[in-house]
């Protein structure tokens, strides 16, 4: 089997349709398990009381906001270099979900910051770089929408996505590089996690739920992109099950 077989919209469209229900079901299942752990198994935090329970959606959304951007920049770059239209469609399909994840991270962070820091918003390095990420997503989407010729839009938006990718490591390392109000990472590759294991398990389950959801949403949107861009192609007419 060749992976390149699925690099054309024609072959990827039905494949995405087959994968979609699995990722959607996985997202729902993991979401339910994660929420059960978050609200019924995880204990009260000794410092933050029940307010810390926001972590179970805040951290997954924040991770996905950065991860989706990296994947989006990757596909945009592939589309730019190899001129493959499916790669560019993949990048476009990821952007709205990435923007929503960024918004969720900022919103839940704000609702966590108010009771713990006493402020809805502070101009801290972590928060500011995450806000810049939201503007990068919105700028990318605006650029895609503003250019009528889709192939030119793919190229211009790919350049923006690639330049903006520099912001992802800045967000990630911001808590180390600057003296921020935002706490450092709870999970690190080099040391033991600084949280109770049931809290950690709940958070990781929610991370996988958000990940599966993002894939499902992106697959659904890439199918829409394919339909709207290839609507005059002959292959669409021969498709039995649209």
């Amino acid at each position: 089997m060749s992976w390149f077989k699925y690099s054309s919209p024609q072959t990827f469209y039905p494949l995405a349709g087959k994968m979609l229900p699995w990722f959607a079901a996985l997202a729902a299942l993991l979401g339910l398990v994660g929420l059960y752990i978050a609200f019924f198994l995880a204990p009260t935090d000794f410092q933050q009381g029940e307010a810390y329970r926001i972590i179970f959606i805040h951290v997954p959304a924040a991770w996905m906001s950065m991860f989706i951007y990296a994947v989006m920049a990757f596909w945009a770059g592939i589309g730019l270099v190899f001129n493959t239209r499916l790669s560019s469609m993949m990048a476009h399909a990821l952007a709205p979900t990435g923007a929503l994840m960024t918004f969720i991270a900022l919103w839940t962070g704000s609702f966590w910051g108010r009771p713990t820091w006493g402020a809805w918003w502070v101009w801290d390095a972590r928060l500011t770089s995450e806000l810049i990420l939201l503007f990068l997503y919105l700028g990318y989407l605006a650029l895609v929408a503003a250019i009528d010729d889709p192939r030119r839009g793919d190229k211009a938006s790919a350049v923006l996505a690639l330049v903006g990718a520099i912001n992802v490591p800045i967000i990630y390392f911001s808590v180390q590089w600057w003296n921020t109000l935002h706490q450092g990472s709870s999970i690190s590759m080099t040391r033991a996690p600084s949280m109770a294991s049931i809290m950690l398990i709940g958070m990781l389950v929610m991370v996988f739920a958000f990940w599966a959801y993002s894939i499902a949403a992106a697959l659904m949107r890439v199918r829409c992109e394919i339909l709207s861009r290839e609507r005059h192609s002959a292959w669409l007419r021969t498709l039995e099950d649209i």
Partner: protein, 57 residues
């Protein structure tokens, strides 16, 4: 069980506004995105099969 009543669960130890404010908006966004995608896919599929039939005639 962690909570002794529904009221206690909703109160979230006094942080109800913050916890539920965060969760409600997150749920709203995910539900809204899903519905919007399902509707867009349905419209596009209908348009595509219509034009496919038109081409076949």
């Amino acid at each position: 069980m962690h909570w002794s009543s529904v009221g206690e669960f909703l109160a979230m130890g006094g942080y109800g506004l913050y916890v539920w404010g965060a969760y409600a908006v997150t749920a709203l966004i995910i539900v809204a995105e899903t519905i919007a995608l399902i509707r867009r896919a349905r419209t596009l599929r209908a348009e595509t099969s219509r034009s496919a039939h038109a081409a076949a005639d």
